[in-house]
Amino acid sequence: MDNENREALKKVLKAKVNRQLLYYLDLCARCSICKDACHQYNVTKDVLYLPAYRAELIRRIYKKYYSPIGRIFPKFYEGKDIDDEKLLDELYTATYACTGCRRCMYFCPFSIDTTWILGVAKEILNAAGRGCSILEELTNASIEKGKSIDLYKDIMIEVLKDTEKELQEKTGDKNASLPIEKEGADILYVALAGIHTIMPAAIIFHEAKKDWTLSLFEAANYGYFLGDSSKAKEIAARIVNEAKELKVKEVIITECGHAYRVMNFLYEAWAKEKLPFKVTGIVEAISSYIDNGEIKVNEGSFKEPITYHDPCQVGRNAGFFDEPRKIMNIVAADFREMTPNREKNWCCGGGGGLVANPEFEDFRLKTGKLKIDQIKETGAHAIVSPCENCRLQLDNLNQKHGLKLEIKSLMDFVVDAMPLPGNL
């Protein structure tokens, strides 16, 4: 690569240097306590997946350009140029394989957030034209779809008509509706591509008598997985703009871990603006509807032994541990915890866009081993997890290992337990 390219990449790095990143790059003692925290290292025993090593790849670039001693003696830190081919190759795998579960951060004595460092790595890879091409295609497709939403709207309305009928049968209310573009509604619900993420939410909102409207856009943000923050912002901004136009008070994100993280933790920093509405995850919403008696569920109605998987972006990275467990304990007659659980829970292995990326398919199925072992240990016949990404991975693992598990979303789990005419 030429010098000009190198300088351009150095600018990308420079723009990404912030205080948190400096702590992470300056403090790591390479003690490797993180090695057993990462399910990918744990299964593969390949140093490339050791969290400290993934971060070290960025640190080697940083030391060469920023450390007073590294600038003179780069070899002392194995300093590398930002356009070093071998380094970028390693960085690609180390970075795009990471599920962003941040379990390593939990165990690190300095709380080093490897995912944050790899976020910078993704920006560098993208700028070097080495971003993940599959995720890039998905990102661009998503942006294109957003630009020509009117084209998709008609198809969506057709589909929703059928769903509406189903909703009316299920709730026994002939006036039950699936509103879109309803100005002044209290809630904007952001679902995923797929009726299975719309239908149960519609039932819950209907039963709780909420004034809501369905977003035209899907919650998934491939730009975030790709690690191109400007594209990720563009994708998320469509939902933000829709919410502003409709003047809703609350945006509720469906069971999608990263979508909630983007909207609740990242968007305001990206856009440098304060959102004029509340961002809620559907788990939190359902939990409060049950608490307030707005929806009724039949206690102990799920008889089979069942377990709960904490999605990393719902648990460790967002703090919803008790809400889903409360629901599980009400509805399930035999709820069994996995070990470890809550903030120490193992990642399913499919996060960070891995389930959408055929390139890492074998890898994610292989590294899902710890999750499968955990589930087997509980002896559960069913599993609930409020994250589409986790469920896709669990479904694949289920088939691969022939576990005959029933994999449920938390919404479906709740709706099945509701005293609805359609459930009788």
């Binding site: 240097v17 912030n18 205080r19 948190q20 990143l21 400096l22 702590y23 992470y24 300056d26 403090l27 790591c28 003692a29 390479r30 003690c31 490797s32 306590i33 090695k35 057993d36 925290a37 290292y41 025993k45 140093v47 050791l50 400290a52 090593y53 070290e56 080697r60 450390s67 007073p68 001693i69 070899k75 002392f76 830190y77 194995e78 941040r102 951060m105 939990y106 165990f107 690190c108 004595p109 300095f110 709380s111 080093i112 957030d113 944050w116 933790f265 990242l266 305001e268 920093a269 648990g315 460790r316 990275n317 967002a318 703090g319 541990f321 903030e343 120490k344």
Partner: protein, 239 residues
């Protein structure tokens, strides 16, 4: 003072202290001049109150209990190393001046016994974690993760400890002599008192001081800054 000792245990001490203080301030300035990302990178569960967060930062920085649950060996060696190091460092202040309150409590003789026993025990205990730090770097995956800096720091530490232990176990000069040397440094006229100057262990003291100088000169530019930065980084965890 012989020329070598005058350079490494005299002049170099001043340079080292100056570089150490200046370097640490420089490094902290670099951190605080960088813009803080407004993204809250905290992990859950996290304390809701400021006081809760404050104590969590202290707990995470001093005992990092999470690390124990995933890698007991490394945690135990880390606690032993840092604990021993802290006590040893504090004990070195006896070479500046006597700890009067403690003398009142256990008497001068008691002080000498405590210092001899405590110093010898810790001087031996601290060898084990440092050897662990060294030898683990020769096996995978640490080997692939390590950079020259890691070996350099461990070798410097081993040198300091080895020469320090030699002084503790074999040298024929004692606390009063050290105190005279330290006082001479404090008034910017470094010299070795006779007992040290005439001792064959003189060179050991010079080397001990020299390696400490090297360590603290390099400290601000190294991963050792984790001692300073851990509080700030662990605070991000609770944000």
């Amino acid at each position: 003072m012989d020329t070598f000792s005058f350079i490494v245990a005299g002049i170099m001490v001043y340079i080292a202290v100056a570089v150490f203080i200046g370097g640490v301030i420089y490094q902290i300035t670099v951190w605080f001049r960088a813009p803080k990302s407004s993204v809250r990178l905290g992990l859950f569960p996290r304390p809701n109150t400021k006081t809760g967060r404050f104590f969590k930062v202290l707990k995470d920085s001093f005992i990092f209990p999470q690390s124990y649950s995933v890698d007991k060996a490394t945690w135990i060696f880390a606690i032993v190393f840092h604990g021993a190091l802290l006590v040893i460092l504090l004990a070195h202040f006896r070479l500046v001046r006597e700890f009067t309150p403690l003398v009142k409590l256990i008497g001068l003789e008691g002080m000498d016994t405590l210092s001899a026993l405590g110093g010898k025990t810790l001087g031996i205990i601290i060898i084990f974690p440092v050897l662990f730090y060294l030898f683990r770097r020769f096996i995978t995956p640490h080997k692939d993760l390590s950079v020259p800096e890691d070996y350099f720091l461990v070798i410097i530490l081993i040198s300091i400890i080895a020469f320090g232990d030699h002084l503790r176990f074999f040298a024929d000069f004692h606390v009063a002599d050290y105190r005279e040397y330290v006082q001479s440094l404090l008034v910017f006229k470094p010299y070795y008192p006779e007992a040290i100057a005439n001792s064959s262990a003189r060179i050991v003291l010079s080397l001990h001081v020299m390696f400490v100088n090297i360590l603290i000169i390099y400290f601000p530019f190294s991963k050792l800054m984790h001692i300073v930065g851990t509080f700030a980084a662990n605070k991000v965890r609770s944000d």
